[in-house]
């Protein structure tokens, strides 16, 4: 009884299901409700109905005499199959395939749905053997692909791709018929989306080795007819197909097989004659791509034709792109010819090709003042760089003739060109030495070196500069600069450092010294450093009683060059060991007043020390030298000088100067930032003990008073307190992991100093040092307590009209920055304070400039180089949180206070990354335009400099404001400040690059207005006006 009930229920359910299915089919086919397909598919997927049931239910519609109804029936089946092809049985697939193949012969309105269905079936893993071939045969036979619509053609390509992926073996059984069918299907395809698919199939046919048989040429024809591709995607193209994509996929097909060589190479030669530059570039790049596959068999026949086209392109082109592509094609051809294995009876095609090149190029090298010398040299260099064998042949032909010409030519400019060409050939190449073969150039080493030396001895700047570059190239390759020539080189370079006054030559010499000293440190340590030292400390020639001014000038210049050279060569520890003592000796003499060094020279010594520290990086040896010798000496000298300042009778040490102190700071900070942990901790405790307790034990020459108190403010002397900047340099740039001993006491002292000191340099440095320490201090109650008391005092001092208001403001600014960088919650209250100061009668302008400080990187403290705690995107965050506030206070401010707000705003916007500027600009644009009319020149300038980069890639918001912008920019052309005039002209120039339809209406007005600055009294302004007006003239004109 119970069993029967169950069966009954099941039967009822089945009946209900089939009724449901019939209903769905009915509604889809005759009711035209497309959503029913989805429901049916869901039913099939979760097992409610089977495909068989669906076909049965479809029965009538599939056999209907109305093509529309049949179409609708097939459509439903195909749509269901697209979702359920994974659940099918092999037998079901077989039946369905046969059904669909028959339908291909049916009415054309049914065709789209049939193809969709077949596409779904080709994705089946259980496709029975033989079906793939039969599907293809039917499709090739019954569907005339190119008469189908776009989507159906794409369907056919997808069927091919699916079958090629899963049934490769079966398709290969078709032999060349498959290729023939494909060729017929794609012949005439025009849609870029389908072309990408077709090229993909073509590429598979080649790489998977389908038989092409007698259809090779047809296959090449049907693909190569698209070459070179010229495709401009329509604006707002949703498919995102680029010309580049098409070019690359076609190139992969054309260059994919050696069998195409006989068709492709003549095609390339033909297309190179084209007038269209992109066609030329594409042809050349395609030729270069052939290089990796083709060998001498494919190439030899076409070499003369290819060469004459290549030569013409490189010789005559005006475009760098064509030239570069041409040179890489030459290189690729030579490389592929060098790779090919020779058969014993054929001649060496590489030599034949190189002979062609040499014949056409070599004689141009003999005319160094004519135009073609350069393209010829570049071609020969490209050929020689392609392989070792090629370089052997090219070098042995080129080098002797170049060297001989160099030696016989007398004109400077020609010799210079020859030397530059030589340098191009001496560039270190990738091949050769790595295979253990001798450098090709070794046999020319002697004459090359003597050419360099003769050029270095010339008086022509151009010749000397080229010679230093050639020398560097020689030095970088093993075997090209043997010891005797190296010594001679160092001798020449030293002489140039000492004697050459031309700034550019000097720079080139320094670069050369730097590069060579890195490779050959001993030679420079032994032969250059001692001579530089001698020159630095030699007394200038004295005529009569006092040195004549020009002479002392040149003595200064020599010293400056020597100092720079010392820094340039100091890249290896062994050289640092030699050069640093010399630099320190200069500082010592400057301190004691001997040898008449100027304060400029002392600063340049400091720059050199800084450079040495920076280029040494993390090198522990150099770190040790700096830690043990340089830092104690620098601190010692600076503190001695500061103490001397107390007794006015003393000698006048240069190290008292604020400028010199400021130059010592980056040296210390560069060193400390790079110290390893042990030395860093030692450094921290030494610096703290020195400044807190007057412990001078680590300083050299123990000549300090015992009760040294460097951090105590003196009302009438600033010398001692200024040294606080040295403390900052030492403790604020150490890695964050280093613990600063007695940091609380140190902070209290620094706070006191920055509140009470009267000297701006001292209290600013103290505030910076305080901020630097606060920034790195770990979170916790100690920090919070400290901050609370400081903030209280700050607020009180800033709000009262106390005489120390400026000091309090400075500390406020720096502490705000320190906290802002690390996202400390207290930073908001401090920056709010700054915002409110923008309305202050006394401090408004300082507060506005303070925003520059908040938003930009400070060079000496609180930057990433000093290991400061800087969170990413703090600028964006600060801006996002505060811009609205700023705009609001601007709107409510009294007119005479508005300038400060605008200034603050332009500082903030200027320091934002460009991406953020673009997104923020729409909201701020009205305000920035207002800022352009603000009388403050600083605000104008800063706003213009912020607008100019934005104008190069303008946001949409700008376009509605163009009128106002143009009017304001033109008004600024009559500003009394030339910098403002220049900046506004640059903005006007930038405007000319906006889309034509936006700016054309302004053309006449702007051209007329720009006639005025053409007659500006300042040349620099005229120059910008000429540039801007020239571009505006071209706007909307042919030939732009």
């Amino acid at each position: 009884m119970r069993v029967r009930v169950k069966v009954g229920v099941a039967l009822q359910a089945m009946a209900a299901d089939s009724a449901l299915l019939l209903g769905l089919v009915e509604e889809f086919v005759t009711g035209q409700q497309d959503s029913k397909a989805e429901e049916t598919a869901t039913g099939v997927k979760n097992g409610q109905f089977t495909i068989l049931q669906l076909v049965e239910a479809l029965g009538l519609s599939l056999t209907s005499s109305e093509p529309q109804t049949r179409g609708r029936g097939v459509q439903l089946l195909s749509q269901v199959l697209q979702q359920c092809y994974g659940n099918l049985q092999e037998s079901e697939v077989e039946v369905l395939v046969t059904f669909y193949e028959n339908r291909l012969k049916d009415h054309y309105v049914i065709m789209p749905h049939v193809l969709e269905g077949l596409k779904a079936l080709t994705k089946c893993l259980v496709l029975p053997p033989g079906s793939a071939v039969s599907i293809l045969k039917s499709v090739f036979q019954d569907a005339h692909v190119q008469s189908l619509m776009l989507a159906q053609r794409s369907c056919v390509y997808c069927i091919l791709i699916n079958l090629m992926d899963s049934r490769e073996e079966e398709l290969k059984g078709l032999g060349s018929d498959f290729v023939f069918g494909f060729v017929q299907s794609m012949d005439g395809e025009r849609d870029p989306r389908n072309l990408l698919l077709a090229f993909q199939i073509a590429r598979k046919i080649i790489t998977q080795g389908y038989e092409m048989g007698k259809f090779t040429e047809e296959f090449f024809e049907v693909t190569s007819c698209y070459f070179p591709i010229d495709f401009t995607p329509p604006p707002n193209d949703p498919h995102g197909i680029t010309q580049e994509e098409l070019i690359l996929s076609l190139r992969a097909v054309l260059t994919g097989s050696q069998r195409f060589a006989e068709y492709l190479l003549p095609l390339i030669v033909e297309k190179l004659d084209s007038d269209v530059q992109s066609a030329k570039v594409d042809s050349l790049q395609t030729l270069a791509a052939c290089g990796s596959l083709y060998g001498h068999k494919e190439l030899s026949e076409f070499l003369p034709g290819l060469w004459s086209s290549l030569r013409r392109e490189v010789f005559q082109t005006a475009s760098e792109k064509v030239e570069t592509a041409g040179l890489s094609a030459v290189s690729a051809l030579v490389a592929s010819l060098s790779r090919s294995v020779l058969s014993s009876d054929s001649e060496d095609v590489l030599h034949v090709f190189l002979d062609l090149i040499l014949k056409d190029c070599l004689h141009h090298l003999a005319e160094p003042d004519l135009k073609l010398v350069w393209p010829s040299a570049k071609i020969l260099q490209a050929a020689s760089n392609a392989s070792y064998r090629a370089s052997l042949k090219v070098m042995s032909a080129v080098m002797p003739s170049l060297l001989e010409q160099y030696n016989t030519q007398t004109q400077c400019s020609q010799r210079r060109t020859l030397l530059e060409v030589l340098q191009g050939f001496v560039q270190p190449s990738l091949h050769g030495t790595e295979h253990g073969e001798d450098n090709v150039l070794v046999e020319f080493q002697k004459p090359l070196c003597s050419a360099v030396f003769s050029a270095l001895a010339e008086s022509s700047a151009g010749l000397q500069i080229t010679a230093t570059r050639l020398l560097t190239s020689l030095g970088k390759q093993s075997g090209l600069l043997p010891l005797s020539d190296l010594e001679l080189s160092v001798h020449h370079l030293t002489r140039l450092v000492l004697e050459e006054q031309d700034a550019q030559v000097s720079l080139a010499v320094m670069e050369c010294c730097g590069a060579l000293a890195y490779i050959y440190p001993e030679a420079f340590a032994m032969r250059m450093v001692p001579r530089l030292k001698e020159a630095i400390f030699s007394e200038p020639m004295v005529e009569g009683d006092r040195p004549c001014p020009s002479d002392s000038n040149s003595q200064q210049a020599v010293r400056r060059r020597c100092v720079t050279a010392l820094a340039s060569v100091s890249s290896q520890p062994s050289l640092v060991q030699e050069s640093v003592p010399v630099l320190l000796q200069i500082l010592t003499s400057a301190h004691t007043g001997r040898d008449s060094f100027s304060s400029d020279e002392v600063t340049s010594v400091c720059h050199s020390l800084q450079r040495i520290a920076e280029q040494a990086g993390q090198d522990p040896e150099v770190g040790q030298i700096f830690h043990d010798i340089v830092i104690p000496r620098l601190l010692g000298l600076a503190i001695q000088a500061a103490l001397q300042g107390e007794d006015s009778s003393g000698r006048n040490s240069l190290l008292k100067d604020e400028a010199v102190l400021s130059a010592i700071v980056p040296v210390l900070s560069a060193v400390c930032a790079r110290l390893h942990s042990e030395l860093a901790s030692l450094m921290a405790s030494r610096a703290v003990r020195l400044f807190l307790d007057g412990d001078v034990s680590f300083l050299p020459e123990n000549a300090f008073p015992s009760n040294l108190q460097l951090l105590k403010a003196h009302p009438d002397s600033c010398y001692q307190t200024r040294t606080v900047c040295l403390l900052m340099a030492c403790v604020c740039s150490l890695p964050r992991s280093v613990e600063i001993p007695e940091v609380d006491r140190l902070l209290v002292e620094l706070e006191e100093l920055s509140f009470t000191c009267l000297h701006p340099f001292s209290y600013t440095s103290a505030a910076k040092c305080f901020a630097g320490l606060i920034n790195k201090r770990p979170e916790g109650t100690a920090l919070d307590a400290m901050l609370e008391s400081t903030t209280k005092r700050l607020t009180a001092e800033v709000e009262n009209q106390s005489p120390m208001r400026m000091q309090a403001f400075t500390l406020l600014l720096w502490v705000a920055k320190a906290l802002l960088l690390r996202y400390h919650p207290l930073s908001t209250s401090l920056t709010d304070k700054l915002f409110s100061l923008l309305g202050d009668s006394e401090l408004a302008s300082h507060a506005a400039d303070g925003f520059y400080l908040l938003m930009s990187d400070s060079p000496d403290v609180l930057n990433r180089g000093c290991h400061a705690n800087v969170r990413i995107m703090y600028r964006q965050r600060f801006f996002a949180e505060n811009s609205a506030k700023l705009v609001q206070s601007f709107n409510s401010a009294v007119p005479e206070r508005k300038a400060a707000y605008l200034k603050a705003l332009s500082h903030m916007v200027n320091n934002l990354p460009k991406q953020v500027q673009l997104t923020e600009l729409p909201a701020l644009l009205p305000l920035l335009l207002e800022a352009l009319s603000c009388p403050d020149q600083g605000v104008q300038l800063s706003t213009l400099s912020c607008l100019q980069p934005v104008l190069l890639d303008p946001p949409a918001a700008l376009t509605t404001q163009l009128d106002g912008l143009v009017a304001r920019l033109l008004a600024l052309n009559s500003s009394p400040s030339m910098k403002v005039r220049i900046a506004s002209l640059r903005c006007i120039l930038a405007l000319s690059h906006l889309p034509d339809h936006l700016v054309l209406p302004f053309r006449a007005k702007i051209l007329q207005a720009l006639a005025v600055p053409l007659d500006d009294k300042k040349r620099l302004v005229r120059k910008e006006a000429v540039l801007a007006r020239g571009e505006w003239f071209l706007l909307g004109n042919p030939g732009r």
Binding site: D273, S274, D275, Q277, K280, R312, F315, Q316, T317, A318, S319, E320, K321, H364, E367, D369, L370, K371, L372, S413, G462, P976, S977, M978, A1011, L1014, D1015, K1017, K1018, R1019, L1020, R1022, K1023, V1026, R1029, G1030, F1033, L1034, N1037, P1038, G1039, R1040
Partner: protein, 159 residues
Amino acid sequence: MSGGTRLENANPLVFQRSGERLLTATDEDENVADPIDDREIFDLIRSINDPEHPLSLEELNVVEQLRVNVNDQDSTVAVEFTPTIPHCSMATLIGLSIKVKLLRSLPGRFKIDVHITPGTHASEDAVNKQLADKERVAAALENSQLLEVVNQCLSSRAM
């Protein structure tokens, strides 16, 4: 210039470019007026592109600072240019480019005279006459093909 077309002078002499004008302290001084001088005019025209070669007029020695004469007070400019070969068919075009560049870049008060260096071109007089004729210069610039070539010469290095 592309394809198989042969250039009239495929391998011309190339001269070195002079560097940028050095900035002096007076250039930056707001209160000093800088007169328009020969070098300034030369700087305007030296970077004009040659219609045939990827080279500037300076590199081909078509223009030299020596052959530029300016008088700021009297508002006159005279420029002589030297075609690379005496039969150069581009001479008129080069002259026109120089003239147009100066017209666009100099204040309206200047009288601009552009002519061929005496004795360097076969049809020197005819070219000079064309360049001196205001009407013909204006008419030439109405021709959009000609204007296109001139603009290409004047644009800051196309491509």
